[in-house]
Symmetry: C2
Subunit: 219 residues, 2 copies
């Protein structure tokens, strides 16, 4: 697997642009938990994930968090290059949720290429539109969907990502994904347990009735 | 005032592109209350507002609303051309809050130009980044700010737009801007009245203590 075959607009760049990317490309590994981007302080560049998992979230002044979206293999991470987009006036944090390997096209290299290449600029546009759609989906969840349904959806999504119904996740972590408080999540999970949808034990939430959880999530 | 002088990247387009815009440009007037764009059903094009005021909002299945942002003189409206952005997977409604005059560059004309012009594609990018920032601001308000502070901010914003502290606005309309319910807004406004910040009368909310309202809004 090489960068060229994973970068969707590679063939639309000219040789000079391709060489500028290849000449500046770096390919770091980071451990689970590493913060890759922290608001406006960083501007690493455009990331292309080889393998692993990133979480993009916002932080309140009081330290509360909410997950905007997650990125997986072959996904592009645009906001790690947010400095190249003058009109982006918000800060996100990007952290590795698993050990992650990725390529980085430095921000100034990618900026230079988008300034001269309509395909690159339009590709950036499509990336931003995708993330914008993720955030609008989240906004609709928050506005119109009650927390029980959001917790149900989160558990199902997590089970699908991990490929198991036995989730090693703390109530605090769920609260940080959903912009809620640990106590509220604990209460909700106990209610789910009473309803037979999950079984709670130390550090593990086991899904015991996927159908019922799906029904709640879709209601 | 002509389109050329209001469209920021006019000088970066070539003569052919400029002629395609001028040859397809239309300039409608709409009355207050007109719905200009209704989810994925419409794809008018890129709008440039000559004068007036547009409101961009989302609607829940139950008919609840929340305002994403508003557009004023010389603002560009991109989501009225959302069909040209493949990766935009959400629907917004755009309505005139005042009698509004604007230019329309048809979506297929603007799409054709962004495909060949890096400056046009980058400009579209900046527009999207601005609206994305508006929505992220709103998301942070909803997540971290209590409703009393959001109502205070809304009244101050409204007074600034209208140039008067005597606001002719219903409690239902405020609820629709903030994604809340009429009863909740009425209760909040009565609390504001008890605190001496506003005076309520039939169809009018009068701001009586701007400082106190500003203090609450910023808290």
């Amino acid at each position: 697997m090489d960068f060229q075959s994973c970068f969707p607009i590679w063939d639309k760049l000219n040789t000079d642009q391709q060489n500028r990317i290849l000449g500046s490309l770096v390919s770091p590994h980071v451990k689970k938990g590493t913060v890759l981007h922290n608001g406006s302080m960083d501007c690493t560049g455009l990331l292309l994930i080889k393998s692993g998992q990133l979480r993009v979230y916002i932080l309140s002044e009081e330290g509360r968090e909410i997950t905007l979206y997650r990125l997986f293999d072959i996904d592009m991470c645009l906001f790690s290059a947010s400095c190249m987009l003058r009109s982006i006036q918000f800060d996100v944090t990007i952290a590795a949720e698993k050990d992650t390997e990725f390529w980085v096209v430095p921000a100034e290299v990618y900026k230079g290429i988008t300034e001269e290449s309509a395909p690159a600029a339009n590709y950036t546009n499509e990336l931003m539109a995708s993330r914008f759609s993720d955030v609008m989906w989240l906004m609709e969840q928050i506005m119109w969907k009650s927390l029980d349904r959001r917790v149900a959806s989160f558990l199902l999504e997590e089970a699908s990502i991990e490929g198991t119904g036995k989730l090693k996740i703390t109530h605090e972590t769920i609260a940080n994904h959903l912009g809620s408080h640990r106590e509220v999540i604990t209460r909700m999970l106990r209610y789910f347990q009473n309803e037979g949808m999950v079984r709670l034990s130390r550090g593990v939430i086991e899904i015991t009735d996927t159908d019922k959880l799906e029904e709640l999530s879709a209601s």
